[in-house]
């Protein structure tokens, strides 16, 4: 991948990758760091990347790996620094691209918030799969590749996550 192609990718996937980082880290500063480190790492590795071959998966796999490696050292900063939880401030956006009527908007906002909170409560193993599937729109095969786990494991984690979420969100989604 050339420098120009990487720049295009950064532009094209910034929302996808950044949303993922924020949901993974639950913290603005950490999300910024992770996002930055992901692309800096990608910069180092760009020769190994092929532009035509789903670079998004590649960025996501880098982000996950960096996050796992760093997670423990964040604990220091968490202890000394005031962590800005994202969950609370997500009220500022609706999670909707189309513009529904005002009443719908408020109801949907509530609903989406409840769903996101339920996802946040999932164990990280399940949460990453859910984010990759629903947020990043990856196929189960792509998730397997990104996380370096067998497809069967992806399916079983997705199944577990859905089971938990359905139970928790039954009223919100079907009610």
């Amino acid at each position: 991948m050339t420098k120009q192609e990487l720049e295009v990718c950064i532009d094209q996937y910034s929302k996808d990758i950044y949303s993922f980082c924020r949901n993974l880290t639950h913290n603005l500063q950490e999300a910024d760091d992770l996002y930055q480190d992901t692309f800096l790492m990608a910069l180092q590795l760009r020769e190994k990347m092929e532009y035509g071959k789903n670079p998004k998966s590649y960025f996501l796999s880098i982000a996950i790996r960096i996050w796992k490696n760093k997670k423990r050292k964040f604990a220091w900063r968490k202890r000394i620094a005031d962590t800005q939880l994202i969950v609370d401030e997500r009220d500022t956006y609706t999670g909707e691209s189309a513009e529904p009527s005002p009443e719908e908007c408020i109801a949907d906002k509530e609903k989406n918030k409840t769903i996101r909170e339920a996802v946040d409560r999932l164990p990280e193993k399940l949460r990453i799969v859910v984010l990759l599937f629903y947020m990043e729109d990856l196929s189960t095969a792509q998730i397997a590749e990104v996380m370096k786990i067998p497809v069967g494991t992806v399916l079983s984690r997705l199944h577990q996550a859905r089971k938990i979420l359905k139970k928790e969100l039954e009223e919100v989604i079907y009610g």
């Binding site: 949303s19 949901n23 692309f39 800096l40 423990r72 220091w76 000394i80 005031d82 999670g95 919100v172």
Partner: protein, 413 residues
């Protein structure tokens, strides 16, 4: 699959978080800059570049020669930091290779280097500027019984907790350690040995102090594993501690010391947002008065007297209310003025007077001791204390800005 459920989740999780422009610009700028740099390096180091293994698929490597450990330089290469690998091979790096065994672990300090812009991945300040001057060190940790350490991708790695940090003689290690010094680390397991590459702000400016590197169990600075002598400033292993508490002396060239920069650094330490910040700086309302009650005249006088020095500096080991004092020097001098003589050490002061059973019963003038070793403050009433703090100088804080260990009344009954 259930379409309604899937749609609801897709909508709720739609990636809508925008990257702020500054961050985006910074990354694009890095691509511009480093992109051209990498290009040039590639010409020169093409063999090395081909041999470099991507962090995502780190596999076992050949150990060179008979030497058991990988070198600091190899480890830097492992995390894709060619510049740092080069630096570790330079004459500025110190290869130490000293081993210590405590608890169930053998820890080997492989090497350390301090300097400007040594790494390909610079550390950024919160304002986006580069934090140029950094210290890097590599330690190897292994089980003494020979069982391999878990790979960093294994679940059991998450259960292991080590804390490795440079420490500086004269500065309380509970305050001044890697966690506060913009520190970071990366762990790699190779051939059953866990290597940790750690980095933090450069300790070279403190080269006129004794410098240490501690490696203990626990995720944070382990106050049980080490002893801090607040009078001499010396840091030592707690011999009675049964876990891991290795402590290496770092050989430093005193000529690299820069006391001015060191003082400035210490003054700025912890200016980042801090849980305690809100509780640490309290402005007294104009109407605030130290409440004197019967039998507590001396205490009230002490609190009253102490308050006039707010804003004066903190200097470790000193006891001048105007030129600089540490926390226990502050309490000593305040009470000394009132004719009650106390030892300089906080632990000695904790032996003095009588214990107050609860915060509700605290009166102005009582000494409040904290879990942070050897920190002591004077209670002034209304849940506030006045004290000398390394970061802030003499200031007023909420009494619970840190965990309270004990409250004692100095006034003779």
């Amino acid at each position: 699959m259930d379409k309604r459920f899937d749609d609801a989740l897709r909508r709720a999780l739609a990636p809508n978080d925008e990257v702020n422009q500054r961050l985006k610009q910074k990354i694009l700028h890095c691509v511009e800059e480093q992109g051209t740099m990498a290009e040039k390096q590639k010409m020169k180091l093409s063999v090395a570049a081909m041999a470099a293994v991507f962090l995502l698929c780190v596999s076992s490597v050949t150990v060179y020669g008979a030497w058991k450990y990988m070198s600091s330089s190899d480890i830097a290469g492992r995390v894709q930091d060619r510049k740092l690998a080069e630096a570790f091979r330079s004459e500025h790096a110190q290869n130490i290779n000293e081993a210590q065994c405590y608890g169930e672990y053998r820890v080997t300090l492989l090497g350390i280097i301090s300097g400007e812009l040594l790494s390909e991945y610079p550390h950024y300040h919160a304002d986006g500027s580069i934090d140029a001057d950094r210290t890097y060190a590599v330690v190897a940790i292994e089980n003494t019984d020979g069982t391999p350490m878990p790979d960093t991708s294994e679940e059991s790695y998450g259960e292991l907790e080590f804390f490795a940090s440079p420490l500086i003689c004269g500065y309380n290690p509970a305050w001044v350690n890697i966690a506060n010094m913009s520190g970071n680390f990366t762990d790699i397991t190779e051939e059953g040995i866990l290597y940790r590459l750690l980095e933090c702000d450069s300790v070279e400016i403190f080269a006129d102090h004794d410098l240490y590197l501690c490696v203990s169990d626990g995720m944070f600075y382990n106050t049980e594993a080490y002893l801090y002598d607040e009078l001499t400033g010396k840091i030592s292993r707690n011999e009675e501690y049964e876990g891991l508490n290795a402590l290496f002396s770092l050989p430093m060239d005193p000529s690299g010391a820069n006391p001015e920069a060191a003082a400035e650094y210490m003054a700025g330490l912890g200016t980042e947002p801090d849980i305690l910040t809100e509780k640490l700086y309290v402005e007294l309302e104009g109407t605030f008065e130290v409440e004197a009650s019967e039998g507590n005249e001396k205490g009230a006088a002490a609190a009253e007297y102490a308050l006039q020095f707010v804003g004066n500096p903190y200097v470790w080991g000193e006891d001048s209310l105007t030129e600089g004092t540490d926390s226990s020097g502050f309490t000593m001098s305040v009470y000394g003025y009132l004719g009650i003589s106390l030892p300089h050490s906080a632990s000695g002061q904790r032996e003095s007077g009588t214990e107050v059973d609860a915060l509700e019963n605290a009166k102005p003038g009582d000494l409040v001791f904290y879990e942070t070793p050897s920190h002591v403050a004077i209670y002034i009433g209304d849940d506030m204390v006045v004290h000398a703090m390394p970061k802030t100088g003499i200031c007023i804080s909420e009494v619970d800005f840190d965990t309270i260990a004990e409250i004692r009344r100095m006034e003779p009954e």
